[in-house]
């Protein structure tokens, strides 16, 4: 009789496919996972605690560094919460700019996901195609606010910078190009037999499980639940535009893939409409008191980030600093289902499932 034992394998925090400093300890029986324990916190910076000693404008750069692949939506959730608390009016031009950058950001974020996901599955080229196209979005952001990753663009009551000359036209051009690019992406990867066999039926869960675990974003929609805050609780100007909420059916990695691909297309649709209706002139900053002091009370707002529902909870004592600030980070919440999904899967599927959840470690650890 051969003596066999389970193999305890430590994956990460330095591992090419954990998308950052994520660590997971897996027990392997052969190549089959019998138990998985995620270890988080390698990128914890105490954002929420730090925020208690900062005024609201100073917190905005910290939100950039949470989900660094999608900084614009993070900016928005904070300023949106403060504005709602103080009942501030945001000029239309500023709101348009915010919406345009948020949708561009969603496309950019999904492109990072698409590239890295296929890289996880072993295809090298999509990664570079996605990044070279994302580069154009970063270039647009760079023209707008002088930064490529951590933008610090939005302010309570508006945005910091107005769109430079010709910027809107360049975005229009980008949206046109990106539409054909997406078709190319589909041609290259979406129908690939190997890709299908790798992600179809992998990491499946049903709608009830997804809701029980508090999943949101594409992770929830892949199970068929039509829940998108842009539609269900319209914020910003989303109620003005026409777009669909793509949903999946089976709740596997393949449906998550399709949902995200379709979301990019829908974002471009929103962008097209927003760019058409973009107001000619107007202010980019509303009337905001010199020192921002939200009234005593608390508020919770949530918006749809590329990864799911991002929420911001503020308790104010009427001071310039929040008494308590709490972010609901979609990556963190979505990640909680991972140990459940991994049991019984092979080592190879670990990478597929983890990639399919689409986490950003800056947001998981915050």
């Amino acid at each position: 009789m051969i003596r066999t034992e389970e193999l305890l394998l430590n994956v990460g925090p330095q591992h090419p496919s954990t998308h950052g400093v994520f660590r997971i300890i897996v027990k392997l029986d052969g190549e089959i996972i019998t138990e998985a324990t995620p270890v988080m916190g390698y990128l914890h910076r105490g954002t929420e605690k730090l925020a208690e000693n900062l005024n609201f404008t100073q917190i905005i750069p910290y939100t950039d560094r949470m989900d660094y692949v999608s900084a614009m939506t993070n900016n928005y959730v904070l300023v949106h919460a403060v504005e709602k608390m103080m009942g501030l009016e945001v000029p239309e031009r500023a709101e348009f700019l915010r919406l345009i950058v948020m949708e561009l950001q969603r496309v950019a974020s999904h492109m990072v996901w698409w590239g890295t996901y296929l890289l996880d599955i072993g295809a090298l080229s999509p990664f570079l195609y996605a990044f070279s196209d994302r580069e154009r979005i970063l270039q647009l952001f760079n023209e707008l606010c002088g930064a490529r990753l951590t933008y610090n663009y939005m302010r309570v009551g508006g945005v910091k910078w107005d769109a430079p000359e010709g910027w809107i036209d360049r975005v229009k051009q980008f949206v046109r190009d990106m539409k054909t690019k997406l078709l190319e992406y589909d041609d290259l990867a979406s129908g690939n037999e190997i890709l299908l066999s790798r992600i179809k039926g992998v990491g499946t869960y049903d709608a009830q499980t997804a809701i029980d675990y508090g999943l949101s974003g594409a992770n929830l929609r892949s199970t068929g639940v039509k829940w998108d805050l842009r539609k269900n609780e319209p914020y910003s100007l989303y109620s003005r535009f026409e777009f669909d909420v793509p949903v999946g059916k089976n709740g596997d990695c393949y449906d998550r893939y399709l949902v995200r691909m379709e979301e990019m297309r829908q974002s471009l649709r929103i962008l097209e409409q927003a760019l058409e209706q973009f107001p000619e002139g107007g202010e980019t900053m509303g009337k905001v008191p010199r020192v921002i002091r939200p009234p005593v009370g608390e508020i919770y707002v949530r918006i749809e980030s590329p990864r799911g529902e991002i929420g911001c909870y503020i308790v104010s004592k009427g001071k310039a600093e929040p008494f308590r600030l709490k972010f609901r980070r979609p990556s963190f919440v979505n990640l909680q289902i991972l140990p459940k999904l991994l049991v019984g899967e092979s080592m190879t599927n670990l990478v597929t499932i983890l990639g399919g959840i689409d986490i950003v470690l800056g947001e998981v650890d915050c």
Partner: protein, 339 residues
């Protein structure tokens, strides 16, 4: 060169043979150096990049610099590793890869050893490399390396079967396993080449060969996104270089083998083109296959281990057997040449 075998061994012969071996080694090393460069360039172009272009003119010295770097690196052996096996593994991987080159006929009279069982010799020796890879994974005493080594063993053993079976059709048609005779059999127009009558065999051979080479989409033993680097994760410096060298020599060997078995070796596609030396034709066909291997790498994702095994046993093997059957029927009905 054949008559060397039959003549009595003298010092002069031994010396000539040694020189020949060194020449082949030089050719192979140059090939590996520039195959790596070519691969990086090709994949670079396919990915909107430029590839290496800094070291030397057009980046031509990039691989040389890389090898020099590997030479100068500290030679580390993990404390818990099985030292003897750890040192032995890269050598054991490299030696057979070089030995298999002895039977490759580049031209009618340009061959080291004209073995009657040439193809079997190739299969037998290349199998030893599998042992070395398992050994490397095992002796590193690293879990990732072990997983990579085990995967590699499973994969290479599985794919050797369809690889050999796919060539049986050719052996039946030519009634020989001698690589030189197989090429001579394919003389004439390009439709005399084996890849047309043996199209099923050719397809099986190419897929199985890519898998034998551990290249995308079958590069599971070193699947970077899962196993970091697979069986050679603990190797550094020149021991690592030996594994890499082995891998690329097998690319060379398999490309040669495919050229010989299926693409008519040194034969020109049309008899009118015979004035161009056979070596040029050989090199052209060889280059096409090498390019194909690199192209695949830039395009396809990776299979999962269970799917990989399924492909070998459930698809390729039945196809190869079907090919044998069809060849037999063809020979029975139309005589040799059909199929």
């Amino acid at each position: 060169m054949q008559k060397f075998w039959n003549d009595p061994v003298t010092w002069g012969h031994a010396g000539l043979y040694l020189l020949g071996a060194i020449a082949v080694l030089a050719v192979v090393i140059v090939f590996v150096t520039y195959a790596i460069y070519f691969e990086r360039k090709v994949i670079g172009w396919m990915q909107y990049r430029r590839g290496p272009n800094r070291t030397g003119p057009l980046g031509l010295l990039q691989t040389v610099a890389d090898v020099a770097k590997l030479l100068m690196k500290e030679d580390t052996i993990p404390a818990k590793a099985d030292k003897a096996l750890f040192i032995l593994a890269p050598v054991l991987a490299f030696v057979p890869s070089f030995l298999v080159l002895a039977i490759i006929p580049y031209g009618l009279n340009l061959q080291f050893a004209d073995l009657n069982v040439g193809f079997l010799y190739y299969v037998a020796l290349s199998g030893i490399t599998t042992i070395a890879i398992v050994l490397g994974g095992w002796s590193s005493n690293n879990k990732y390396a072990l997983l990579g080594g085990m995967r590699s063993a499973a994969q290479m053993i599985s794919y050797e079967v369809p690889l050999v079976m796919s060539v049986v059709g050719i052996a039946m048609m030519t009634e020989s396993l001698n690589l030189r005779e197989i090429v001579i059999y394919q003389e004439g127009w390009f439709w005399h080449w084996n890849f047309l009558p043996q199209i099923v065999g050719f397809a099986v051979f190419v897929v199985a060969a890519i898998s034998e080479l551990n290249r995308t989409p079958f590069d599971l033993p070193e699947a970077e996104s899962e196993l970091v680097a697979g069986y050679h994760v603990e190797y550094s410096g020149f021991r690592f270089a030996f594994f890499m060298l082995t891998e690329y020599i097998y690319v060379y060997a398999i490309a040669c083998l495919a050229t010989i078995l299926f693409l008519g070796g040194w034969n020109a596609p049309a008899p009118q083109l015979d004035f161009i030396p056979g070596l040029v034709w050989f090199a052209l066909k060889f280059a096409c296959i090498v390019f194909f291997l690199f192209w695949i790498r830039a395009t396809l994702p990776r299979l999962r281990i269970d799917q990989l095994m399924g492909l070998a046993w459930k698809v390729l093997l039945p196809l190869a057997i079907l090919n044998i059957f069809l060849t037999a029927v063809g020979i029975e009905w139309w005589g040799k040449g059909g199929g």
